[in-house]
Symmetry: D2
Subunit: 349 residues, 4 copies
C-alpha cells in the first residue's frame, strides 16, 4: 500500500529534489507540500518543470502540524535549522514520524551544537530519540525511529570515506585532513550576490576554512568509529557545478597497513550495501558518475612513499547528501526496501 | 512479458543515454550491446557509472546481425549514417525490427538525402517502408513498422514547434526562420580540438549556417503540414551546456490570426500527447525543465507589433532528441505504452 | 597630459569593468569612484582583485556632483536609468562632460522612451544635445559632445551587424529578425534567484521576447540607416557564460544583391574602423574571440537558397557593449586616440 | 630598445597565451613563431582572435634553430618535454638565450627527472647552468642566465604558498599535504575524449593521485627552504574552468608558532614582490581574482584547534603558471623591469 508523505518547505533545492524523487516513487505519494510564501498555488506554478506530471497540480499549503500529522505517514522537514527543531517537536508531539533534513538533531551533544551553530537548542529533550540517518551505519535504528536526523552532505561523503579504515584501526585517528569540494546547490536557493552565476562561474574558491559547521558531525561519527575522540581538519571549497561533492580525505597509515588489507577492509564493510560503490584499483570517482543518484563512490589510493591512505569519495549533494538519503530513511522507517524508488542511473553526461 | 533489445554502437552519447534509460525500463531488457573497439569488456569497464547496476556486468560484443536478430525483439542502431543503412538492411533481411538513430532513413527522397549528406544511399529500397519516428505525428504507423527512422534532435524541436500552426494555416509557409541552439553532446563523443572543454566553455558560436543537414528533414515534415513545399532558413549554434536544444522559430501571422486562436490550435493538436507541454502564456521554456526527459516544452508568443508568431521549444537533445524518443518508438512497436519506462522528472537543477 | 575621470556607481559589473580598463589606461586616471552604499572604503575592500594595483587604495565616496564637476575632466555614469538622467542634468548644469552608460539619453524621441521604459523622462530638455555614442557612426559628434549616451549592449551588436547593408539598400527593411544571446553579466549584479549560479548554469532560455527595451534603440539607428522607419523583431536569450553577446541577424536580400557585393559593402563601410573585424568568408564569430576587448566581429553568410543575408556579430557585452565603448567615447571627447588604453588581446581561452 | 623574441611551439595553450601577453608588451616584440604543422600560414589563420592586431599577419615558420638564434634576443620553448631539451641544447650551442616552459631543466637531479618522467635525459650536461625561473626566489640568477627552466604551474602555486613558513621554521617539514585543483587548460590542447567539454563540464574529479610529475619539483624547492629533504603528499584535481589553480596546503604548526608570527613572516618574505599578494586576514583567494595576470594570491588560516597552518594560493595557470612567468623571466634576462608588459587588471568577472 502506498504511504502518504508530507514535505514542509518545498521552495529550496532539497525540497525541489524531494519532488523529483517522489514523483517516480512507487511506494510513497507526496500528498502535502508546504510553504508559507507560496501557499495557495499549484506546485507547477513555482516549478514549471512539474507541469504535466502527477505533482504539477498539487496545491501548496501553509504548514499545519495537525493536518500533516493526521494525514501523512511521514513528514520531511526541509526548513532551516532552528525552525526545524520547533516543527519536529510539534509533529512528534502529535505522534508523527519525521525525517529532518536540517542540522538540528544530528549532533548528540547539545553543547557541541550550540557552540558550532551559535543558537540555543530549545528542543534538546528530543536529542536522545533522534537517530542519525546514515543507512550504512544505522539501518536498524532508523527503521524503528520516530525522528531521523538526516546527515549533512559533506559529512555523508566524509564519514563513508574514512569509517571502515578507522574502525579497523588501519589508519591513525590523528592528523586527518579532509579537503572537500561542493557544487553550488549546497549554498541553497537564497538570492545572494556571492552565489550569482557571474560570481561562481569560471572560478573556484575555498570558504569557511576550519569553521564549517559540518565539522562536529564528522568528528562525532568518526570518533565512534575509532573508539576515541577525533579532532580533524575539515575544509570546504565551492565548485562551479550544480550538484556533487568530491571529498579527498588524507590519513596516515598505521604500521603494517597495506593496500590489499585496506581494500579488503572496505569490501567487507560495504558488502551488501549497494549504495556504496568501491571503485576498482586505479579508478577514481567523478561527481557526474553519481549525478542524481544515492550512490557514494569511493576510490582508494595507498601511497607507500608518504605512508598515507587517500580516500576520494563522490556523492550528489542534493540526492545522497540530502533528499535521496531522506527517502532512503523514509523507506526504512515505513518498512519498504531501502532502495525503493531511488534512481540508479546517473544522468550522464 | 519483458522484451529483449539490442544496441549496436554503445560508445557514443546516444548509446550511453540508451543504457541510462533502459536501466530503469520495466518492459525492455537490454541484452546485447556492441562495439567493435570495446568488445570483450563488461559495460562498467567503459562506463564506470554503471557499476553496481544490472547493466554493469553486461559484456560488450562485436556486432553480429544474425545473433542480434535471433535474440532480440528489437534493435537500436546508434552508429554513424552510412554504416547504419547497411546494418539496418542486414537486420531487416533477417526479419528483425529496427529503430535507427542515424539520418539514413529519415528523408523520404533519396536525392535529397544524397545531396545534403554527400554520400550514395546504397539501401534506398528500404526507404518506402521506413516510418519517421515522431510519435505525435505517426504513432499508428510506428506501431506497425519494421524500420523506424528516429528523428534528428533539431528537427524534433523545430517540427513540434511549427507543425500545428502550419497545418491550421495560421502562419505563412514563407519566410520561416528557425534559430536553434544546442548543447555540446550534439557534437558527439569523438576527440576533436573544437569540442574540447577549453574551446566550448565560456563561449558561444554559430556553426554550419544555412548548411546544416537537419534542414531537409525539417522542410520535409513541415511541407507535409503546410500542404506545400517549404524552404526555410534553419541555423544552429553551440551552447556551453551538455544537454538541451532550444529552438526559437519565427513565422509571419496569416491575416486575422491572433493569440487566442493560435493557443487554441496548439491545445487541440497536442491534446492527449503528454510529452508535449504547452506552457501557459507568459512562460517560456528552459532546457533544464526537460533535462533527462522526453518532454518537448513549447512557449507561444504572438507579436502584433511585427505581426509574428514566435514559438520557443525546448528538448533534451539526447533524450527526446535521440535515445528517449527511440525508446518511445520501441514501446510503440512492441505494444507497450509509449511512455513506459521513460523518465518524467527532470533533473533540476 | 593625463586626464582625470570620475565614475559614479562602481559596484555593478559595468563599474567593475571600468576599473579594469582604466587601470591600464595611459591617458585617463580614475580619481573619483562613488557608491552611496560603500562610501568610505578603499576600492580593494569591495574588489579584492584590485589589491596591489594603483586603484586598490582609492577611496569610494558618496556621489557629489559639485566635487566631481570641479575635479574631473569627464564623468562616467554607471547608475540605473532614471537616476542617471538626474545626475547627468546636475553635472551638465555644472559644465561637466558626461558619458552616461544608462538608457536615459539613447532614444531621441521622448515618447518612445517613456512608452518602452514606463517612466517619465524628467530631463528631456537634454535629449537634443545628447550624442549616441557609437564611434563607427558618430565619432565627430562624440568628440564635441558634452553628453554622450553610451549605446546598449544588444544594440551595439545589432546595429553594427545590419547598418552597412541597410544603408546600401542591399537588404530589405522589412521582416528583419534579430535573435540575440547574451552572457549573464548583462543581467547585472543584483541578487535575484533567477540569476543564481544554479538557475543559469547548464541551461538556456529565452526572455522578454518581443518586449526587450533595447528594441527601440535598434530601430532608431537602423531606421536612420535605411532612410525609413523600421519595425523589427528583436529577441533575447540568456547564455550560461559571463561575458559576450552573439547576435544572429536575418534579412531578406534585395533583388540582385549577392555575396560579393555585400562583402564589398561591409569592407568599404568599416574601412579604417579597427574595432570592427570582418571575418573572412567561411569564418564565424565566437564570443571568446572578443573577450575583454572592444572588437565587434562580423561574419557574413549569404544564402541564395532562401534569399537571405545572415549576419552574425559578437561583442563583449561588458567591454564593447558598455565600459570599453564608454572609454572609447571618453577618448574621443578628450582628444585622445579612440583606441588609447583599450585592450586588443582577447583573453583566450 | 625593443627586443626581438621567438616562440617555438605556438599551437598549444601556453603558446597562445604568449601571443596574448606579447601583443601588448612595450619592450618585447614577437618576431618568430614556429609550428611544424602550421608553417606557412599567418597567425590569424589559426588564431582568428588575433585578426586586426599587430600579430595577426605574422607568418608561422618551421622551427630553425640557426635562424632563431641569429634573429632573436631570446627564445621561448613551448614544446613537450623531451623535444625541449634537444631544442634548448641546439639553441644554447648557438649562443641563444632560452626560456624553456617544459619540465626538462626544472629538476636539478637527473635521476629524479628520469624516474618521474620515465625518459632518459639526453642533455643533462646543461642542468648545472639552468636556473629555476621563480622570480621571487631567484631573480638575480635569472637575470644572468642563458637557460631558464620556467616552473610548472602547480609548483608555482605550492612553492609560493609554503616557502616562507618552512624557511622560517614555523611549520613542520613532515606531513605536508598539498591538495591542488586546476583548470582544464592545464591538460593541454590535444584532442582527447577525457578533456571534451561534455566530459569535464558539470563534473569534478581527482587524477594522478600520489603520482603527479610536479611532485619532485615542489619537493626540490621546499627542501631547499626547509634545509632538509622533504617528502610530501601532492594531489591534483580537474576543475570545470578554463584557467586557474587553487592550492590548499596543510601543514603542522611548530610549537609556539601563532597567527601573528606567521603573517609577519609572509609579509617580510614577500615585501617588495608585487606579484605575490597576501590577502588580509579573513579573506581567501579566488582563481578569478588573478585571471589573466601574474599575481599569486595567498590566504593564511591558522587553526589552533587542530594546530595547523592552511595556506590557500591562487594563480592563473596559463599566465603566472606558464607564459606570464616566462615573460617575467625574459624581462629579467633582458634587463627590463620584471613586470614590464604584464597585465595587472584581472578579467573580472
Amino acid at each position: 500500500m502506498v504511504k502518504r508523505v508530507g514535505l514542509v518547505g518545498v521552495t529550496g533545492y532539497t525540497g525541489m529534489e524531494l519532488t523529483r524523487i517522489l514523483l517516480g516513487h512507487p511506494g510513497l505519494r507526496l500528498t502535502q507540500v508546504t510553504s508559507r510564501k507560496e501557499a495557495g498555488q499549484p506546485l507547477q506554478k513555482i516549478y514549471p518543470f512539474l507541469q504535466g506530471t502527477e505533482l504539477g497540480g498539487l496545491e501548496i499549503t501553509a504548514p499545519d502540524s495537525k493536518f500533516l500529522a493526521a494525514n501523512c505517514d511521514l513528514i520531511f522537514l526541509a526548513v532551516p535549522h532552528g525552525t526545524a527543531m520547533e516543527m519536529a517537536a510539534e509533529l512528534r508531539g502529535l505522534g508523527a514520524r519525521v525525517v529532518d533534513l536540517s542540522a538540528d538533531f544530528r549532533l548528540r551533544d547539545r553543547d557541541v551544537y550550540e557552540s558550532w551553530y551559535q543558537v540555543t537548542h530549545t528542543r534538546s529533550a528530543l536529542l536522545p530519540e533522534a537517530v542519525y540517518g546514515l543507512p550504512e551505519l544505522y539501518a536498524e535504528s532508523i527503521a524503528k525511529a520516530g525522528l531521523v536526523a538526516n546527515p549533512g552532505c559533506y559529512p555523508t561523503s566524509a564519514i563513508l570515506a574514512l569509517y571502515p579504515a578507522l574502525k579497523a584501526g588501519l589508519i591513525s585517528a590523528e592528523d586527518l585532513v579532509i579537503d572537500s569540494k561542493s557544487g553550488t546547490t549546497g549554498a541553497g536557493r537564497k538570492a545572494t550576490v556571492g552565489t550569482l552565476f557571474c560570481e561562481v562561474s569560471d572560478t573556484f574558491r575555498a570558504y569557511n576554512l576550519t569553521k564549517h559547521r559540518h565539522t562536529p558531525e564528522i568528528e562525532q561519527e568518526l570518533s565512534l568509529a575509532a573508539g576515541k575522540e577525533i579532532r580533524l581538519s575539515f575544509n570546504t571549497h565551492l565548485l562551479p557545478i550544480n550538484r556533487g561533492i568530491l571529498t579527498t580525505a588524507y590519513a596516515k597509515l598505521m604500521p603494517g597497513a597495506d593496500a590489499d588489507q585496506i581494500r579488503a577492509c572496505y569490501e567487507r564493510f560495504y558488502a551488501g550495501k549497494r549504495w556504496v560503490r568501491l571503485l576498482p584499483a586505479g579508478s577514481l570517482p567523478e561527481t557526474r558518475w553519481v549525478r542524481g543518484t544515492n550512490f557514494c563512490d569511493l576510490g582508494l589510493v595507498t601511497d607507500p612513499r608518504t605512508n598515507r591512505l587517500i580516500v576520494v569519495s563522490a556523492i550528489d549533494n542534493l540526492c545522497r547528501g540530502a533528499s535521496g538519503q531522506a527517502v532512503a530513511n523514509a523507506n526504512l522507517m515505513l518498512g519498504l526496501g531501502d532502495d525503493l524508488g531511488l534512481p540508479f542511473a546517473p544522468l550522464m553526461p
